[in-house]
């Protein structure tokens, strides 16, 4: 299954990437500025070194009356023409080297480390570059001596690298922390969304009450209000549908009852006279119409979601009343036997829906079972009602099809093919189960429909 994108994760990644880019940009600007300042500082240092060294070196040369090249420094002498090693009064800084020329352009003094340098004879005063090394040249106007100071260290590069490290390393360390922090903050910020989701998830066809969560953030309030309005409209529509189905059942029964009663009375008055056969056919058609409309309206009520209930109801009186009612009918008189024992029957199901389911199952057993055998209704502890009848065996394939709308078993008895389907829909909607078996338990034939009622919620 494809994983759904997470808003929190997306925002965390996006914000982290944005923050990192900003940081890198700011760091680059800082490094640029820092490099510029460092260059200025090092250039200044180079210039000051030249300005201090030149008079000192010239003075030193004059004091010694030295002719030829004087080499100064603290390292090993690798030159062959070293004439004097006492030039220690000239300060030495390892970060740069230098050489001094007289007015004729001859090198008269050089730093020990300057031997490796190839310095052109005439370099204009000021800053310059020599083999990618920064130089500063200064000429004394009085005697024409000049000094070339060459920066030998990579301190500029080191300084730049240190700056980049100082700005970049914290970013690398902080990036995961920042991403985690943003993700956590997003989760906290999105918590009201989860509360709203749970609240909406609790709504179904039996629970269309307004959302119980409140105090939504400004961003969620319009969504919560829209969902609330939708629930309200849905509730109105479902209420109207339930009411219509219930009222239709009532309104249809009276005219059908009138037509049926008039037909039966006319048939009774005609006796076996002319037209009586046709009249009996009309009566049978009216009865089928009555049964079918009754079942269709029951289906409409079930589809409007009336079976599920949040209230637990004692269904034993309902069961007893339905069975008494069926047994009171002169057609079925005495055929239904009930064994309730000491079992209780309390379940969260609408009592009317339960009555419809029981009536359908018992009438089904009475119509399609063996006509000379009783129908047994057994009540078990734990909320199971079993309706058993003797009769022909129903094979597994037919058993699997039974319970679907308009599917009838191999029977010639009157029926709409909806009774089992309605009973199954009622039970499943309420959270229970209808289990069909053939043969009936402890028998070699027959049929059992077991209503497993929904459990009481703790």
């Amino acid at each position: 299954m494809k994983r759904r994108p997470s808003i929190a994760l997306r925002l965390a990644l996006g914000l982290t990437a944005g923050m990192a880019l900003l940081w890198v940009g700011a760091g680059a600007i800082s490094v640029g500025v820092m490099q510029h300042e460092l260059n200025e500082a090092y250039d200044d240092s180079l210039q000051q070194s030249a300005q201090r060294l030149l008079p000192l070196a010239v003075h030193d040369l004059r004091e010694r009356h030295h002719n030829g090249l004087l080499i100064v420094g603290d390292g090993d002498d690798d030159g062959d023409d070293v004439s004097d090693r006492r030039g220690r009064s000239v300060p030495h800084d390892p970060s740069f080297t230098y050489l001094i020329r007289d007015a004729a352009g001859q090198v008269v003094l050089r730093d020990l480390h300057a031997s490796k340098l190839v310095v052109p004879a005439h370099i204009p005063d000021g800053f310059g570059e020599l083999d990618r090394q920064r130089t500063f040249t200064l000429t004394e106007e009085r005697n024409g001596n000049s000094i070339v100071v060459v920066e030998t260290s990579d301190r500029r590069l080191t300084g730049l690298r240190d700056s980049i490290s100082a700005l970049g390393l914290p970013l690398l360390a902080l990036l995961p922390l920042m991403a985690g922090g943003i993700w956590l903050a997003m989760r906290l910020a999105l918590r009201p969304l989860e509360v709203l989701r749970r609240d909406i998830a609790l709504r179904d066809s039996r629970n269309l009450q307004p959302l119980s969560s409140d105090g939504h953030p400004v961003e969620l309030a319009p969504i919560a209000n829209a969902v609330g309005a939708l629930l309200s409209r849905l509730k109105s529509a479902l209420d109207a549908e339930r009411s219509f189905a219930a009222r239709s059942a009532h309104e249809l029964r009276t005219p059908i009852a009138g037509a049926l009663a008039q037909t039966q009375q006319l048939a009774a008055e005609l006796g076996n006279g002319s037209g009586s056969t046709r009249l009996r056919e009309i009566e049978a058609a009216l009865k089928r119409l009555s049964t079918l409309s009754e079942k269709l309206l029951q289906m409409a009520r079930v589809e409007a979601g009336f079976a599920k209930s949040d209230l637990e109801t004692d269904l034993l009186p309902v069961l007893t009343m339905v069975i008494q009612d069926i047994n009171a009918n002169s057609i079925w008189r005495g055929r239904v036997q009930v064994e309730t024992g000491t079992a209780t029957l309390v379940a969260p199901i609408d009592p009317d829906a339960f009555a419809i389911a029981v009536r359908n199952l018992v009438e089904n057993a009475l119509k399609h079972g063996a006509q000379d055998s009783p129908v047994q209704v057994l009540l078990e502890n734990g909320g199971t009602v079993r309706v058993r009848n003797a009769g022909p065996l129903v094979d597994a394939a037919e058993l699997a099809r039974l319970g679907q709308p308009f599917v009838r078993g191999a029977t010639t008895a009157d029926g709409s093919g909806l009774g089992l389907s309605i009973a199954r829909s009622i039970l499943e909607q309420a959270g229970g189960l209808l289990v069909l078996k053939s043969p009936s338990p402890d028998a070699i034939d027959g049929f059992e429909a077991a209503m497993v009622l929904p459990k009481i919620r703790p």
């Binding site: 219930a246 059942a249 009532h250 309104e251 029964r253 009276t254 005219p255 059908i256 009852a257 009138g258 037509a259 049926l260 009663a261 008039q262 039966q264 009375q265 009774a268 008055e269 009216l286 009555s290 009186p317 309902v318 009343m321 009612d325 009171a328 009918n329 002169s330 057609i331 009592p351 009317d352 009555a355």
Partner: protein, 218 residues
């Protein structure tokens, strides 16, 4: 038996009326609760067929009022409402039976007979009295193993007498069972039907208690 039908639907009411009359009972038909109240106040009905939704009120209110006033008249509710709550409310209000529309007229007649038998003190449909076996459910009478054929009116008189078996039933009570409002009461009708019963079921089956009425011995 004198029956009060309270039903506002013309088509159904007419069919019920004709059927109840055809099985020998007298019937008054009211379509409103206030008319029904007047009828109940003036006549000792032996059974009421009561619809619940009427133009001027609920049938259950009438039933409660009847029971509050001490009336023990059997009441069968005939209604299009099959909700469990309404049915329980109806039975708790004092109804004796509950028929959901549409119903067979024969089923209604059987329920009427069953309720009447319960009120007559013998819920079993079969009665043996003075050597005659009578099945009230099937409306058959057997005398010494031979079936006796009775008209609907004769059955109505017989049921009225059997409802108070061993007790005296006055002539006017039998007349009430035979004639509805507005029907012309024939002066010697009761004597005629009693005579027919004696002819079919035996001379001693119905005894005349002079000056009081008639009696069927247990």
């Amino acid at each position: 038996m004198r029956v009060l039908l309270i039903e506002d639907d013309n088509v159904l009411g007419a069919a019920i009326r004709d059927h109840v009359l055809s099985i020998g009972h007298a019937l008054d038909w009211m379509q409103r609760i206030d008319d029904a109240r007047l009828a109940i106040a003036g006549v000792n009905y032996e059974l009421v067929l009561l619809d619940l939704n009427l133009p001027d009120g609920r049938g259950l209110d009438l039933l409660r009022d009847m029971r509050s006033a001490g009336s023990k008249v059997p009441v069968i509710i005939t209604t299009a409402q099959d909700q469990v709550a309404v049915r329980i409310e109806g039975l708790n209000s004092g109804a004796d039976d509950y028929l959901v529309k549409p119903f067979d007229l024969s089923e209604m007649a059987a329920r009427i007979a069953a309720v009447a038998r319960r009120y007559g003190g013998s819920p079993a449909p079969e009665i043996t009295a003075a050597g005659v076996t009578i099945d009230l459910g099937r409306r058959t009478a057997t005398v010494d193993g031979e079936k006796a054929s009775l008209t609907a009116r004769a059955w109505a008189v017989l049921e009225r007498l059997l409802a108070r078996r061993g007790g005296i039933v006055t002539k006017s009570e039998i007349e009430d069972s035979l004639y509805a409002f507005g029907a012309e009461v024939e002066s010697n009708a009761v004597e005629v039907y009693v005579s027919r019963l004696r002819k079919k079921l035996g001379r001693d089956f119905v005894q005349t208690i002079r000056g009081l009425g008639y009696q069927v011995n247990a």
